[in-house]
Symmetry: C2
């Protein structure tokens, strides 16, 4: 379950996108589904998630965390399947050069059709968790590059939470978090006053003892 920011077709403002793969076998042949695959005997759960991510979409995530183990009896019509789902955030540079093909395509998170299995429910849950963690923790920065403006951070929040935030108040809060470091560089090229660039100095969301579930 992978999230990335991409500019919306119309407004150009960043929006949440999700890569899906097309089912090439029954059940649900032809429908879109979350990327995934089996767990082998010689890899940890997180390693398996990384590997499946790499194999199906070619993406390297900047954040990876276990979402939930789904184990209802009728998730697949043909057999009993337990899915230990992970969710990942990838930076826009990564997302731009991701494989896209006949059977792998990006979709807007808020405009998905009906997917295979219970994958709509899984995505709903992942979205809920993403919004939740964003409100508390410092997770938004894993959707951005190394340097960013405070307006870009705000756009991430606005895209995920789906509501507008007051620019001045948002600045005040972000600047108060100790993990945000001011640089002395500015982003040039806009048709307005150039904004200062900042850096995230917190931990890189991939370490194994990632106590960040809340």
């Amino acid at each position: 379950m992978i999230f990335a920011l991409r500019p919306s077709e119309r407004s150009g403002r960043p929006t949440l996108w999700i890569p899906l793969v097309r089912r090439i076998r029954e059940p649900f042949k032809g429908m879109w589904a979350l990327p995934g695959g089996p767990l082998t005997h010689s890899e940890s759960l997180q390693d398996a998630a990384s590997r499946n991510l790499q194999e199906t979409t070619g993406l390297a995530p900047s954040y990876l965390e276990q979402l939930y183990a789904f184990g209802g009896l009728h998730r697949s019509p043909t057999q009993r399947v337990v899915s230990i789902v992970y969710w990942a955030l990838v930076q826009p540079t990564e997302a731009a050069l991701a494989d896209e093909s006949e059977n792998v395509r990006w979709f807007r998170a808020d405009r998905l059709g009906e997917l295979a299995f219970d994958h709509n429910a899984i995505i709903d849950y992942a979205l809920w968790r993403l919004r939740n963690k964003m409100a508390y923790g410092s997770i938004a920065y894993h959707l951005l590059g190394e340097y960013f403006t405070l307006a870009q951070v705000r756009e991430v929040y606005e895209a995920v939470l789906d509501r507008e935030l007051d620019p001045a108040n948002f600045r005040r809060q972000v600047k108060a978090t100790p993990e945000i470091e001011e640089t002395d560089q500015y982003l040039q090229g806009g048709k307005h006053r150039p904004p200062r660039l900042y850096r995230f100095t917190g931990r890189p969301g991939l370490d194994p003892d990632n106590r960040s579930t809340p």
Copy 2:
């Protein structure tokens, strides 16, 4: 992974306790471990957790939620094991009549020895999650009976968070939550002014679409 409140031996104030079972086979024969067992083909994950809970300790939980799926390669020295761990809260009435025997015993959560497998780490994580959810959500009431005083709620928080809280300020906050309902009964029998009894009117922590992970 089961939590219940029991009065401490010395002070008599409520403390967190955990039931453990003794390993009767290798590996880790003779050591204490979390209750658990295999998943069958005809039960959901939550059902399997309930059943294992019932079979090993005889307890019926008032709250049950998935904790995490542990799948490291070397969790068991003999074979690869993936454990989908659930955590439960049981009310003191339930906890009092729980089976206890040579091979099932209650331990204080803050005074555990070395357990089998990675179970110490699992308990640490569950404790972290319990503290976290308590700070936000309304989970403490699943450790209490139907009627309770505000001082009892405060004692739950103090036991779990392991620090004292100001009684007056705590009252103010709890009374402000809409899920708490004032009754017109009072708890008699103390050597002081009888405190009013309250009720929890929120949802009963067992429904399947329990969106309460944060």
